[in-house]
Symmetry: C2
Subunit: 279 residues, 2 copies
């Protein structure tokens, strides 16, 4: 069972730290950071890493698609093009495989979900963010994430989320929503789901360091003024994001598989085929 | 006695908060933040605010030049042009005034110092940063500042400073250095000066909020995991930056006035006139 997660955002926003902590993997070991000059002469390129993981008894082949170079160049107008091209190619490939003879063994490399990292500095979304999401929200499920949220006090985080959601709405950008709960689902699940929906965009703090807090070993960041606990819901939406992604994965696997596979297939294919036929 | 400080950096990096706390002024009251669309259709423009302040018995007319729109557009290639144009115009004006008849009353609007805000999230400088500083370090004294440094642990801050200084060096970008201390200056001043030089770029945290810590009222940011004290040297280089700027201002005013006025006049004028005569 294939699940492909794409990660988009500028260098240094904590993307690899987040991916490593989400799946407790060292998908990214100590990478040597390219210097500014090296970084600059490259445009966006695609980097894939695949691993087998087991989540709640489900074995899945997780592919993480990284997009180094995003937003790095002085002219970031085209940052989204290389990414759109990659997404289209995967759809194309799947399209061909699906209508081919070897349907039983196709590998599904389509991008199921894209984590888009928003820097917590600005007063809302930047043109780069709007441009990317506007162009790709119909082709891939976007989950916006506020990076390095330990820069924001709880009040600032709440305010930034409001501003971002308003700006997304005014540009008619659809972000990934969990499918509606069935009426017969238990109350707790419904409340958690509603909770998750209201926390978007997730304000995340991540860390690969283990620290000791009150006798427990937790992941966190140590500052001279205190310790940020990654898995403490008062400090970070990390656990919420993790639950959200697991829901997405489970959903793909169980009765929700209809929703995503059908929606993905119908809506995205329709959009894709419509555009494909037009061009 | 005129002193003009220019502030350059993207929106949301805490520039107005820093300026307000540096001079304990409300130079920027609650500004209504323009929406992404408003921000985007503007290129960089210059906004000046002037006020009279008294620092260590010296009355000075401080002008803060702000540069909204910097780095905001998708194509940030020209962010530096409007700023260079402004700097040139002030030199030009001063040039004319100085050779004019009314020398006694000229207003010196030349930009004496430029605080350049570097976001703390990358792995070093971005192309935008290099481009700006490379083009303008000969025309104005640049003081690089790492914004919102409460994102960085002490170790990360030290590492980022090292990387930045190395990248500046490799691009031959000269940042403002305090003039060498005279041999007969007392030891304490020499040590402080050396301390300041080694702290560049200053990793700053600023705040307009007053919080109570250990019975004292200090400026700080309250997080669920602790309180960042703006004036605590273990938490932020705020005081170092303030001391540095005061040194610059005092230097302009006293025996160091030779250094900056002459250097500014000779070096910058030479560069400026040389270019001016060539074009
Ligand atoms: N303040 C803060 N720093 C973080 C966080 N996550 C990662 N970092 C730090 O940011 C730096 C860059 O992280 P990295 O994961 O390499 O970023 P990437 O370039 O986006 O993959 C590292 O020094 C991390 O320790 C976070 O949630 N908050
Ligand atoms: N984490 C952190 N936030 C800050 C700091 N300084 C200012 N802020 C916050 O960043 C936001 C934008 O600050 P502002 O001064 O308006 O930024 P400007 O657009 O660059 O002038 C406000 O919510 C401030 O409270 C800082 O040093 N650290």
């Amino acid at each position: 069972f294939d699940f492909t997660l794409m990660v988009v955002g500028e260098a240094g926003l904590g993307k690899s730290t987040l991916i490593n902590s989400l799946f407790l993997m060292d998908l990214y070991e100590e990478r040597k950071q390219p210097s500014v000059d090296e970084r600059v002469h490259r445009t966006v390129y695609i980097e894939k890493k695949t691993m087998e993981i087991e989540e709640k008894g489900v074995r899945l082949r997780l592919t993480v698609v990284d997009t180094p170079g995003f937003g790095d160049a002085l002219n970031s107008d085209d940052s989204w093009r290389a990414i759109e091209k990659y997404i289209d190619e995967q759809f194309n490939q799947f399209f061909r495989d699906e209508s081919g003879l070897n349907r039983k063994n196709i590998v599904d490399n389509r991008v199921h979900c894209c984590l888009y990292f928003i820097p917590p500095w600005g007063h809302g979304l930047r043109q780069l963010d709007i441009e990317f999401m506007r162009r790709l929200h119909k082709k891939v499920n976007i989950v916006p994430v506020i990076a390095k949220a330990d820069t924001l006090s709880p009040k600032e985080a709440a305010e930034l989320k409001k501003i971002i959601m308003k700006e997304l709405e005014s540009h008619e950008i659809r972000v990934y929503q969990l499918p509606e709960c069935d009426e017969d689902e238990d109350e707790e699940l419904k409340t958690t789901d509603r909770d998750l929906k209201e926390s978007i965009p997730f304000a995340v703090v991540s860390s690969c360091q283990v620290v000791e807090v009150g006798g427990r070993k937790v992941r966190g960041r140590i500052y001279p003024w205190g310790v940020v606990e990654v898995e403490n819901p008062k400090h970070s939406d990390f656990l919420k994001l993790r639950t959200f992604l697991i829901r997405i994965i489970m959903g793909l696997f169980s009765s929700h598989m209809q929703d995503l596979k059908e929606v993905t297939r119908d809506v995205h294919y329709e959009n894709y085929r419509a555009e494909y036929i037009q061009t």
